[in-house]
Amino acid sequence: MTERLDGPQDPPADVAGGPSTGPAETPQRKRRLGPSPAVAIAFLLPAALLLGIWVIYPIVYSVFRSLFDATGTGFVGLGNYTTIFSDAGTLTTIRNNLIWVVVAPIVVTTIGLIFAVLTERIRWATAFKLIVFMPMAVSLMAAGVIFRLVYEESPDKGLANAVLTTVHDTFSSSQGYPEARPRGGDQSPVADQGGAVVTKQPAQAGQPVLVPIVGVKPELLPGDAQPAKAPAAGDGLSGTVWFDFTPGGGGTNNAVDGAEKGLPGMTVEAVRDGQVAATATTAEDGSFSFAGLPAGSYVVRLPASNFEAAYGGLSWLGPTLITPAIIGAFVWVWAGFAMVLIAAGLAAIPRDALEAARIDGATEWQVFRRITVPLLSPVLLVVFVTMIINTLKVFDLVFIIAPASVQPQANVVALEMWRVSFGGGNNQGLGSALAIFLLILVLPFMIMNIRRFRREDT
């Protein structure tokens, strides 16, 4: 090879100038293809130096440091590693990481796939994709802050609970009066019976029933509540449920006074021999009446459900739901990324193959299952593995979203590493051990991804 290249260059005198004279100027020396080792080293040095300083040295030093105790002077061997697997706190972090790795990549990839397939067929696909992709432009820190607000316990502040309570209230009205109770004392016509309020005396038709209630929180009193009216003696069984409290004092107990408000939305039951014979709901002035009730004496009861607190949604940031809640935020951030990648893969699938499958007798679902997904599998795998690496390294979302009180329940390895080394633990030996542990977890997936890319190149 070398000889053949050298051959035509032997008479250097023939060539006057021109770009090909370079190697011909040193015809005596043994020439090689490509630059000399010195030149190669000169070019490699900057990159190698930076890599060494920023990547190789920290890894090596972390391994070294992980073998020492908190002060950095006492050699503990693999002691830090045994601590990782014996300490209950770190075991929780490992369990959480496991949940993350199992759930998050699958959810992200699935949602990305669904979005990608659906956006292929809609008119405003680009706009939709842009919006779904937008969270990628938000820093994880900011995303954490956003979701901290979304998951706020009070439906007035937290979007998640606002949605939940709205949906819940649409299907089951919860006009609750928590902490309200019947007026006590012997004078009172009603009494508390296991949370429900019942009349002490059986009520008869034509004899109005008075149900005085106290302890209603002013903010829970509905705005449409009207001043209660003393019930008139009518034909059927009727009565009034009212807030037996005159603002500013005055008024008679167990009697309807002018300024006292009725309690609307109360469920009232007429009970006979332990059976509910009729149900009514109080009007805005607190009055109720049972229509078409057979004559007789009944016990009037306000069931306990009237006195339950209104549905307040879920406590997202509580110890049980914190990890799923943070995974939700993670999905919000990464689904767009997955969608864009998968959509690109989708665009590369030959249309003809899909059409051929349709003609071969496949339903749309079969086309998707047996042609689209298999042809997409390389892209899906890349997205999936990238997501695994991302979930293993997740830090900021957990750090921001989980309130301090539930941080131990939400903890993940990367966060624990930081907490142990810098965030109060001050044990950089254990922190280094955790870092190395994380590195070992990520490594197989990294190698997998690199292998893939290399195979695609060739």
Binding site: D352, A353, E355, D360, G361
Partner: protein
């Protein structure tokens, strides 16, 4: 097997482009129908509507007496072969062949039997375990055919299946396709832009232009009796020669004159083409097939009574068995919209030289014995029985059954 009937079929794309316009076509049971036309003529769209891959904007398509307008492709019981094969890249040849049968929940032994038979018929037995990526173009083409065959459908639809193959393979696949159709006898609709394929394969050929049906007939009839200028110019290679000429009747009978040439017309032509005599004294467009020329020197006795045409040879194309002689006629090229459309898309063998100026470049196909050379003067004889006459305004063939 079934017949396919298209009744007033329209296809209007978003934006109002009418790709297929009132297409009426009956494809008989077991027939090999070729749809041919220049690119953009709507032939592929028509095929895809039959397949169910495109919505039908108007009209009705029925396969085997059943209206299929709103049936999805899978319920039409048809198989399709695509131009770029459309094999499933993640499946082996065997799985590719069996895919359609598996979807139809066919019992395993039956699938194996059918796949085996098709593989044998197409010579694919040794490749069954390979993926499409490991096959050559011709092999992939055969797999695509096999995938259609194993289904034993009511009809085959083929969308330019041979156009991705090299020339030689195309010829041999063409022959295989013919034998295959003979053997299976399945109704086949075949789309191509190659008029040679259309002529050789089709029982009948349907010529389309701008979504409008031009003529449906046997290949021979299309060649001999084109219904208009477009069909005349599109079918046949090299393409028909056109010139604007005047029809005159003189002492020696009728004749056409153009440039300074006068070709006398036999009387039988007037009986064959009723209505032609009304054009006497008017301008018409005259068409002459290159194959109706012969070198006066090498023509045998059969050329007795043919008109003679002295020309100066510009270029010769020697094909071995015959020679294409290109020569100039001192008359402006016919600029009728139909001839232009046909020339645009057809075989671009002698796409007009810019050198010819205001003259027509004609082609004559003469016997290889003629020794015609560039620059020579040559006497050509013309078979005046096969002259084609077209109305210079409408472009319709004068005296054609369809135009009477």
């Amino acid at each position: 097997m079934a017949s396919i009937v298209l009744t007033n079929v329209d296809k209007i794309y978003a934006g109002g482009v009418k790709a297929v316009n009132g297409l009426n076509l009956e494809i008989r049971d077991g027939e090999f129908m070729v749809l041919v036309g220049p690119s953009g003529c709507g032939k592929s769209t028509a095929l895809r509507m039959i397949a169910g891959l495109e919505d039908i904007s108007g009209g009705e398509i029925s396969i085997g007496e059943k209206v299929v307008n709103h049936l999805p492709p899978k319920d039409r019981d048809i198989a399709m072969v695509f131009q770029n094969y459309a094999l499933y890249p993640h499946m082996t040849v065997e799985e590719n062949l069996a895919f359609g049968l598996k979807l139809r929940k066919m019992p395993k032994p039956e699938i194996q039997k059918r796949v085996g038979e098709a593989a044998k018929m197409l010579g694919l037995e040794t490749y069954l375990k390979r993926k499409p990526a490991a096959l050559s173009g011709g092999q992939r083409q055969r797999v695509a055919m096999g995938r259609a065959i194993v289904r034993e459908p009511q009809a085959f639809l083929m969308d330019e299946p041979l156009s991705n193959l090299d020339a030689k393979l195309r010829v041999s696949m063409r022959a295989s396709l013919n034998t295959l159709h003979e053997r299976l006898g399945v109704t086949t609709v075949y789309v191509t832009h190659d008029q040679v394929e259309a002529m050789t394969l089709g029982d009948r050929v349907c010529v389309l232009r701008d979504g409008i049906l031009q003529q449906v007939d046997t290949p021979q009839n299309l060649f001999d009796k084109p219904v208009n200028l477009f069909v005349a110019g599109f079918m046949g290679s090299p393409a028909m020669n056109f010139v604007t000429a005047e029809l005159v009747r003189g002492d020696g009978g009728a004749a056409v004159t153009f440039a300074d040439i006068k070709l006398s017309i036999p009387d039988s032509t007037f009986t064959d083409k009723p209505g032609l005599d009304q054009y006497v004294g008017k301008k018409i467009i005259l068409g002459i097939r290159p194959s109706d020329f012969e070198d006066a020197g090498s023509a045998g006795n059969h050329a007795n009574g043919w008109a003679t045409l002295p020309v100066k040879v510009e270029v010769t194309e020697e094909l071995g068995s015959e020679i294409n002689v290109l020569f100039l006629i001192d008359a402006p090229p016919v600029e009728h919209k139909d001839t232009v459309a046909a020339a645009d898309s057809g075989e671009d063998e002698e796409a007009s030289l810019p050198l010819v100026g205001d003259k027509s470049l004609w082609t004559a196909r003469v016997n290889a014995r003629s020794h015609a050379r560039s620059g020579q003067n040559l006497d050509l004889v013309v078979d005046t029985h096969n002259l084609h006459f077209f109305d210079s305004a409408s472009g319709l063939a004068i005296g054609h059954e369809a135009n009477r």
